[in-house]
Amino acid sequence: MRFSIKKQLLTVWMFFIINTKRFFRDRLAIFFSIGFPLIFLFVFGGLNSGGGDISFNVALINQSQSDFAGQFETQLKDSDIVSVNEEVTTIDDARDRMSRSELDATIVLPDTFGALTETGPTGNAQVIFTQNNAQSGAALTSILDQQFAAINSEFVDTSVPFTVTSEQLNERSLSAFDYAFAGLLGFAIIGMGIFGPMNVFPELKKMGILRRLSTTPLRVWQYFLATMMGQAVIGIIGIAIMFIVAIAVFNLEMVGNWFELGLFIVLGITMILGIGLALGGWAKNERQVAPLGNIIVFPMLFLSGTFFPRFLMPEWVQGISTYLPLTPVIDGIRLITTEGRHLIEILPQLGLIGIWMVVIYIIAFRVFRWE
């Protein structure tokens, strides 16, 4: 009776329930596990959004009184490609702002612009830019060129022997944000799974709470399992909030299966949590665990594609980072979210997570100490 499985699971269940309740009463803990990654989401999301369509900040100096110039001005202001800074009215002011890179370029319509001749209106618009903004200047010039070509063809009947047409494929490619988002989830998982227990366990040891528990029949696996269940719940809630924000604010398109994604994330959290349990379970105090924790966490943060895509790294770094514990988690989330892969199609990632899970938990159980 004493060692019945039912009683042992009751222990796990009660520890899970009470500790999870405690977590949700602790504002600081909530901030660090849920709020903190959200802040990163907003920062990175803000940086990456609008990466798809280029927009130029320009000033428009219209010195012409002609109708044509007026029409041109309204059209330009309605355009998606350029945003016209209406505060600027003189060339000197525009020059000033361009030197501070506040403006990408300035478009000048001289007083002769749009003047009527026998064949219709003519004119020459000027694009002014500084050295720093040579690229935007050139791009803007060619855009205007095309627009004028279209206008010209309406006034002058010409036959064009060679043309080129472009067609946009409907297949979605990853936007910068889509790519960054999986990395941000990886960052959140690290925060919850590693930094959490890494900081909490030594504190519990210092207070003698774990020691007191060790005089009871509580077993390490029960304690770990209860912690795991708690982290999985907190992790799923935190990540769900990140998804809601990403979809609502940053137009993330989730094409995969939510259930499979949830399952995969729980696996990822469990594996990463093992690292936190091993570190926190081993350390006698905070001072001991901090350096070791940083040695393990930071390379993973940088090499596993949390903040920059792995494909930008040198080949040999990619070769190593493929096998880091966090990499298959981030890659897997990305494959499910953006490519709609099913679990059966990401077996390499699942396998790697499984291998790490075994290795990490063997270490965690070996090194755990109650005081």
């Binding site: 004493r2 019945s4 039912k6 009683k7 042992q8 009751l10 222990t11 269940w13 009660m14 520890f15 009470i18 500790n19 309740k21 405690r22 009463r25 602790d26 519990l204 207070m207 003698g208 709470i209 020691r211 007191r212 528990l213 060790s214 005089t215 009871t216 029949p217 509580l218």
Partner: protein, 253 residues
């Protein structure tokens, strides 16, 4: 069986030093057994070996006929442990602390009943961080009894408490003894040992130098011709303090 606990030739070595060097004693069912001694005498180490927290280097401890060294898991169900400074995780309600400890033994209990035992039922829904030192001690005592242990260990339970809280704690410890539980405690307060303990072991340098009832120990000393320089008064300063301030607990802030 007459004795609940039997300790025979217990030894613990730290490097070259014998922290506990051949300690033997027995504790009866339903008695309060005190271990006294200066710091470093080996009191806490002795307790920790009995509590399965430290490995036993030599000798043996049996509790209720079960050997501690060979069957520590079974022992854990028989003992309750009150640490020197009870600590609980913040944001836990008192009822939850009790449910948690009961769960560690795979049990569900009526938390309120256990809180009532130590006069904490009106604090049931408070968080542990809002308790006073004495209240934490009482909560800790009741959490150590959730599974109905046969032996109860207390390590310096009244250190840092005011006289009212101490007296209240003594009453609680006597109540535990009256349930038939064997209580083993360490203390640095001689008045506490004299009032509370049925028998006392005095330790020094890892060895027991005397075991008897407090009365007999005093009698033996007097028989050796010991005399106090000052005449013993019929009351002491603590009696004055309690007379002036009363016995009511002062922590219901």
């Amino acid at each position: 069986m007459e004795y609940m606990i039997e300790v025979k030739g217990l030894k613990k070595r730290y490097g070259d030093r014998m922290a506990v060097d051949g300690v033997s004693f027995s504790v009866k069912k339903g008695e309060i057994f005190g271990i006294l001694g200066p710091n470093g005498a080996g009191k806490t180490t002795t307790l920790e070996m009995m509590e399965t927290l430290r490995t036993i280097d030599g000798g043996s401890v049996t509790i209720d006929g079960i050997d501690v060294k060979s069957n520590p898991r079974a022992i854990k169900y028989l003992i309750g442990v009150q640490p020197q400074t009870p600590a609980f995780q913040d944001k836990s309600r008192l009822t939850e602390v009790i449910e948690l400890f009961a769960a560690a033994y795979g049990e569900r209990v009526d938390a309120m009943a256990f809180l009532r035992d130590v006069d904490l039922e009106d604090k049931a829904k408070s968080y542990v961080e809002n308790l006073s030192g004495g209240q934490k001690q009482r909560l800790s005592i009741t959490t150590a009894l959730v599974h109905g242990p046969k032996v109860f260990f207390l390590d310096e339970p009244t250190t840092g408490l005011d006289p009212q809280a101490r007296r209240h704690l003594w009453e609680l410890i006597e109540k535990v003894r009256d349930k038939g539980i064997s209580v083993i405690m360490t203390t640095h307060y001689m008045d506490e040992a004299e009032m509370l303990c049925d028998r006392i072991a005095v330790m020094d340098n890892g060895k027991i130098v005397a075991i008897d009832t407090p009365k007999n120990l005093i009698k033996q000393l007097l028989q050796r011709g010991f005399k106090k320089e000052q005449e013993v008064e019929q009351a002491n300063l603590e009696d004055v303090f309690i007379d002036l301030t009363g016995k009511d607990l002062r922590e219901d802030v």
